[in-house]
């Protein structure tokens, strides 16, 4: 029998006892809403009216010509409300929290995209919200911090450890442990203890379901490649999973290479990590020789995380997906390239996928098709990019 919450040998429920009852309650509630027509209808309605789904699948003609090879399509999650795919999961879990009768929502955020999405959902549902965010990320994502505050969310700075996403997750879990009876932890990626990786995948699978229909309608066939960036891995799982059984479709996950894998300053858990346990699940993990979690580095705050979703670890070992990395420099180039040729400024996270897809397209025949998940828009990264390029704003 498949063990509860496992993907091969990855996943599980490695959390303190105090959370186990909450996790059991959450799992039961989630299984229930999956079968509940009324819930699914409400989710569908809000996804359409409030999020703006379906998002377009855009044939990137200029980028395709520029690369001179495979046809490149962009799944435009950057057009979703609040500017990234994160809203799909935040909306689903927010509705679930409300249905469970929870009084308060907490979340962690790195780049601020999940924080903003959660803040928006909480404002819309009329629920109080606290978002934990590393001090380092607050510095590099000031605009998103202000957006959250505008929507009535309290942003709590986290000053422990590396002051980034991992530490924000630690603080959110400490809050959850303390207020477990009335608080819902709205985790933003396919990480954490079961049922989060499953639940987040299900709420994000709308990306792949739409993309599948859209590409069939545009090309009358499935793509050869799907490319997505991977930090925790929610946008990647969301677009990969509905194509899981289509073995002819190759999945490519692009991790953050930071200053290069050899430098040790990166966030590529699948390429540079070893199996371990963090934040409730067993997965690939960037850790030192003593099993302590390493500090990570990426130009994009949203990928700056030492772990990765357990399902990605399973995809890696089984060979269903292939994982590569793009470094900070490559991401910057992808960021500028897409802005220049398509008039779309991508999030730095998504720019990793753009950069890899552009390179891949050039090596392929013109009859090949690549779908890239453009997981978010880049407005939030303008300051960072300007600084790195030496531009005074």
């Amino acid at each position: 029998m498949k063990k509860r919450g496992y993907y091969g040998e990855y996943g599980g429920i490695f959390v303190p006892e105090v959370l186990l009852p909450a996790i059991n309650e959450l799992e039961a509630a989630f299984l229930e809403i999956q079968q509940d027509r009324q819930f699914q209808e409400e989710l569908r309605r809000l996804a359409e009216e409030w999020v703006g789904r379906p998002t377009a699948l855009h044939f990137a003609r200029q980028l395709t010509e520029h690369c001179g090879g495979a046809r490149i399509y962009l799944k435009r999650e950057d057009l979703a409300h609040t500017g990234a795919h994160k809203i799909n999961n935040a909306l689903g879990q927010g509705l679930l929290a409300k249905r469970m009768g929870k009084k308060r929502i907490i979340a962690e955020t790195g780049a601020g995209q999940h924080g903003v999405a959660t803040a928006a959902v909480c404002a819309m549902l009329g629920m109080p919200c606290v978002v934990y965010m590393g001090e380092e990320d607050i510095r590099r994502q000031a605009i998103n911090v202000f957006r959250m505050k505008l929507m009535g969310t309290e942003v709590r700075p986290v000053s422990s450890g590396s002051k980034t996403l991992k530490d924000a997750v630690n603080e959110a879990i400490r809050d959850w442990v303390t207020n477990v009876r009335d608080t819902y932890y709205l985790l933003g990626s396919v990480v954490g203890p079961h049922p989060y990786p499953l639940m987040v995948r299900e709420f994000q699978s709308v990306i792949g379901q739409e993309a599948r229909e859209q590409i069939l309608s545009a090309e009358e066939r499935l793509p050869d490649y799907i490319v997505a960036c991977v930090g925790g891995g929610s946008n990647a799982i969301g677009i990969f999973h509905p194509f899981y059984e289509d073995k002819e479709v190759q999945f490519i996950g692009v991790e953050a290479g930071g200053e290069g894998l050899a430098s040790g300053k990166h966030a590529a858990s699948l390429l540079g990590g070893r199996v371990g346990i963090l934040h409730g699940s067993r997965s690939y993990l960037l850790q030192d020789d003593d099993g302590q979690i390493k500090e990570t580095h990426s130009i994009s705050a949203g990928l700056d995380y030492p772990g990765v979703g357990p399902e990605h670890s399973f995809y890696k070992d089984s060979g269903r997906a292939h994982y590569v990395s793009v470094d900070d420099q490559g991401a910057l180039e992808g960021f500028q390239l897409l802005s220049r040729v398509e008039g779309i400024i991508p999030a730095l996270e998504s720019a990793h996928a753009i950069a890899y897809a552009a390179e891949l397209a050039g090596t392929l025949e013109k009859d090949k098709i690549i779908v890239v998940n453009l997981s978010g828009r880049g407005d939030k990264d303008i300051d960072t990019v300007a600084r790195v390029l030496g531009v005074q704003l």
């Binding site: 303190p16 006892e17 009852p21 909450a22 991992k166 070893r274 346990i277 003593d290």
Partner: protein
């Protein structure tokens, strides 16, 4: 029968358990403090293995853990320190630590070396019974007690599960929350302890938030033992190498439990 079982056989004796982080503020201090704790009336010491992401701990133990890691404390050094302490004290020594460093070291190796070094048990707060099968097998093989935890949020069903699987004693977390001294303990602690007591005869030790002799005495009136951690770390920090206040505090705890 191991040292932990023997300890809980003592009639009319409440068990006092102290937690310290190995290597805080340095390894020499750990070597000195544990015998002092034993001499002042502690019945068992939890040796904390530091971890970079101690998500069940409040700020005091987080900082101790951070400092210990700065000092280069790792699993091999914790094992070595336990062996040295075993030469000096006869009370049970248990390791308390998050799962990843142990997992990384290798569960079977870790358990074997624990036995060789004279360690009696293990407490791993992020390893619930659902995930504990392998660890239980290795621990049992080496005669180590794998102690599971319960919290006020635990349902009766979970209390039964943990009661069946926990070895040595059951660690009752007094509050829904992280470790750390608290001005007062929750009013429903009594209800929680009696819910567990109804289901099992295993020894029950209560920890999290206990920082004064009065609190310890209150808790001991309903449980078999009390666990004190953050307050001990705080006194170690304040003492700056002088452990008189720590000794006085532990003696006072002992007196409170014995009265």
């Amino acid at each position: 029968m191991n040292r932990i079982d023997t300890l809980f056989l003592r009639k009319n004796h409440k068990t006092l358990v102290a937690y310290i982080t190995v290597g805080y503020p340095d390894i020499a201090a750990t070597r000195e403090i544990v015998p002092l704790l034993a001499a002042s009336g502690c019945d068992m010491v939890e040796l904390g293995i530091p971890f970079s992401d101690p998500l069940a701990d409040g700020i005091t133990i987080q900082q101790a853990s951070y400092r210990a890691l700065q000092n280069g404390v790792n699993v091999p050094l914790c094992l070595e320190t336990a062996a040295e302490l075993r030469e000096k004290v006869t009370i049970p020594l248990v390791f308390m630590g998050y799962f990843n460093p142990v997992y990384h070291y290798g569960v079977a190796n870790f358990c074997r070396e624990c036995r060789q070094m004279g360690v009696d048990g293990l407490i791993i707060p992020d390893l619930p019974p659902e995930e504990g099968d392998n660890m239980e097998i290795s621990a049992k093989q080496e005669g180590l007690d794998l102690v599971y935890l319960l919290a006020p949020s635990s349902t009766d069903e979970r209390i039964r599960l943990v009661a069946e699987r926990s070895q040595g004693f059951i660690y009752l977390v007094s509050v829904t929350g992280v470790t750390g001294a608290r001005a007062s303990l929750p009013a429903e602690l009594g209800t929680f302890v009696s819910r567990v007591r109804k289901i099992t005869d295993k020894p029950l030790c209560v920890g999290f938030g206990i920082s004064t002799p009065e609190q310890a005495q209150n808790v001991a009136s309903i449980a078999d033992g009390v666990i004190v951690g953050s307050q001990i770390i705080r006194l170690i920090e304040e003492g700056k190498g002088d452990y008189d206040n720590l000794q006085t505090f532990v003696c006072n705890l002992r007196t409170a439990l014995d009265s």
